[in-house]
Subunit: 98 residues, 2 copies
Amino acid sequence: MSIRVVAENYVREDAVGDYLAIARELVEKTNELDRGCVSYQLARDLSDPLRFAVIEEWEDQASLDAHMKSEHFTRLIPELGKFGSGKPGGILVFERVY
Amino acid sequence: MSIRVVAENYVREDAVGDYLAIARELVEKTNELDRGCVSYQLARDLSDPLRFAVIEEWEDQASLDAHMKSEHFTRLIPELGKFGSGKPGGILVFERVY
């Protein structure tokens, strides 16, 4: 069964534009380049516009592991980290059941 | 852009089998019957086997609203609620950005 990831980030209000620009590159490169990527989307909380989540589906753990070693991941994730508001996000990793 | 939902539940250890049986019916009926359902999966936290999430994608808010009025949703969600461990879950509703 596939692996599902929900990675949440809280972004500073003044940094939302920069966050969205970098996150767009991450989403595009991941969907284009990463083998085993079923779906990789950026989403924004409808009740808190400073709360974002990357919602992911991977064919297996090996695909997710390779993604986290990719050039775009290792370059862009530290960039995105600079825009955080300080409120902790979180990464949940699930196995699909049904 | 589509609507993404992540609905988390903590389940009692002795009720996992029953929870999985009812959740399977909910996942199957939703995917078969609900218009505007892009994806509706049950997933289990790899680091906490009593933590589950329904991870959803809907074409729009109207599709999600109709799902929540469906016969299977209104019948099965209260059933699933009986298996909760008491630890609060949560429902996050996002708008897809990319």
